[in-house]
């Protein structure tokens, strides 16, 4: 249980340490991950920025490098088709905001972690998996894999797998239950409500020793 929990919390860091920098069309998936990981790390390590500024910086980088539409479609699976185009847009927006609101709470906790790309491989459907580890001072490494898919000639992240736990699979499982019980509009409402609550707590982000 505890291993699971620590893995999940590191998913948080994994997501934050993901990606950035203007990418060129010919950039390989590995290069995209490493370069952008370095860019996020630079923002997090910048003592001159407030937590709020860092959040905006990281958001800009991650939003650029993640394909949130594909990610959202994968998360909803078959249920995506049940949504009207308008609802689809709403869902992508609220889901993206959900990830930002919850994961950005850890921005103040940065303690010198560094992302290092270790390997990559091509998947049978043309995607690439880039394997990396987050090297933490005084603690064990955390394995973070990224799955990338090409869109508009650029490689973008469509899943993050932390210590073997896929973000897409985990949210798909949660959303599946909610959509099958209460329908997709209810899910969008739930996300929206959770997001606005999360935003209002944001000002009290605790930068504790944990």
């Amino acid at each position: 249980m505890n291993r699971l929990l620590s893995a999940a919390s590191l998913a948080v860091m994994g997501l934050l340490l993901t990606v950035s920098a203007p990418a060129k069309a010919e950039d390989s998936p590995s290069l995209v991950v490493q370069r952008t990981g370095d860019a996020v790390t630079a923002v997090l390590a910048d003592a001159g920025q407030s937590v709020g500024q860092k959040r905006h910086g990281v958001e800009a980088i991650v939003y650029e490098q993640f394909d949130f539409v594909t990610l959202s479609r994968l998360v909803l699976g078959r249920n995506w088709k049940q949504l009207s185009p308008e609802q689809q847009t709403q869902f992508v927006e609220e889901f993206r905001r959900h990830l930002s609101v919850t994961y950005s709470k850890n921005i103040g906790d940065y303690k010198g972690e560094k992302p290092v790309v270790t390997a990559d491989r091509k998947e049978s459907d043309g995607d690439w998996t880039v394997k990396s580890k987050i090297v933490r001072p005084g603690a064990e490494d955390v394995a973070v894999d990224y799955r990338l898919r090409q869109s508009d000639g650029r490689w973008k992240v469509i899943d993050v797998i932390v210590e073997g736990v896929s973000l897409v699979a985990n949210f798909r499982s949660q959303f599946q239950e909610i959509v099958s019980k209460d329908g997709a509009p209810k899910l969008i409402d739930m996300l929206r409500e959770k997001n606005s609550k999360g935003e209002s707590f944001k000002s009290n982000v605790q930068v504790g020793k944990n």
């Binding site: 919390s9 799955r147 469509i158 959303f175």
Partner: protein
């Protein structure tokens, strides 16, 4: 005790054919699991978490890490045995080397120099060994106080408890004390993590279930990253 253990294994083997292959997100016992999960969460919120917060205030982070390393080191011989039971001699050797190295250079295991030298720990248990032997996981099951499990992992957990050496040779007070220390210390180290998961999940119960099953699958395959033959369905866009 041993008879009980044997009985469990044979029961499990008999029951095996009625379980589907590998863990899925099916949750036939959800009616039992959900109330049990909220019971555990209530115990956590009102008892374990407050105690862990107190511990966290008093005990510095570095000491918490050392306590955790100490207990992990005590497990190493056990990890080694499981490496052998799973016919993974290399892994068994790593666990053995970690035990020798961390017990000596790591000052009785309170430090973990072997990780810095590239020998990473792999935590093994009977649940994983059973899986390597081909015994299917059976349905997801939430145990009182112990949390997420499956039928197979529950049998594994029972076998673990029976086969833990100190249970046989040392007076009962020691295991009780050490389990309490480890539980509180681990919980203290996970304070932020649990809060994160609660906030980041839309359905906490399902997030933990899915996370547990994915994580166990990775542990059984001794991988830390994505599955090699990634679930094709997961990454397929439904185009119709």
């Amino acid at each position: 005790m041993r008879i009980l253990f044997g009985l469990l294994i044979s029961l499990l083997c008999l029951a095996a054919p009625c379980f589907a292959d590998g863990p899925t997100d099916d949750d036939p016992l959800e009616g039992f699991n959900r109330p049990m999960f909220s019971f555990n969460d209530t115990v956590d919120v009102y008892v374990l978490e407050p105690v862990a917060k107190g511990w966290d205030k008093v005990v510095p982070n570095r000491v918490q890490t050392s306590i955790s390393s100490f207990f992990e080191n005590l497990r190493s011989p056990y990890d080694c045995v499981h490496g052998l039971l799973q016919a993974r001699p290399h892994q068994a050797a790593v666990s053995f080397a970690r035990f020798i190295g961390n017990t000596t250079f790591g000052l009785a295991g309170f430090f973990d120099p072997m990780s810095d030298w590239g020998l990473q720990s792999s935590s093994e248990d009977f649940g994983q060994t059973f899986a390597v032997w081909g015994i299917p996981s059976g349905p997801y099951l939430v145990l009182p106080f112990m949390g997420p499990s499956t039928i197979r992992d529950t049998a594994g957990f029972t076998a673990d408890s029976i086969s833990t050496v100190h249970g046989w040779f040392i007076p009962a007070i020691y295991p009780i004390f050490s389990t309490a220390t480890r539980t509180v210390n681990d919980r203290a180290r996970a304070l932020k993590t649990v809060r994160n998961i609660k906030e980041a999940s839309v359905d906490y119960y399902t997030a933990v279930r899915n996370g547990y099953l994915q994580r166990r699958q990775a542990q059984i395959q001794n991988r830390r990253g994505a599955a090699t033959s990634a679930d094709d369905d997961l990454y397929k866009i439904d185009e119709e």
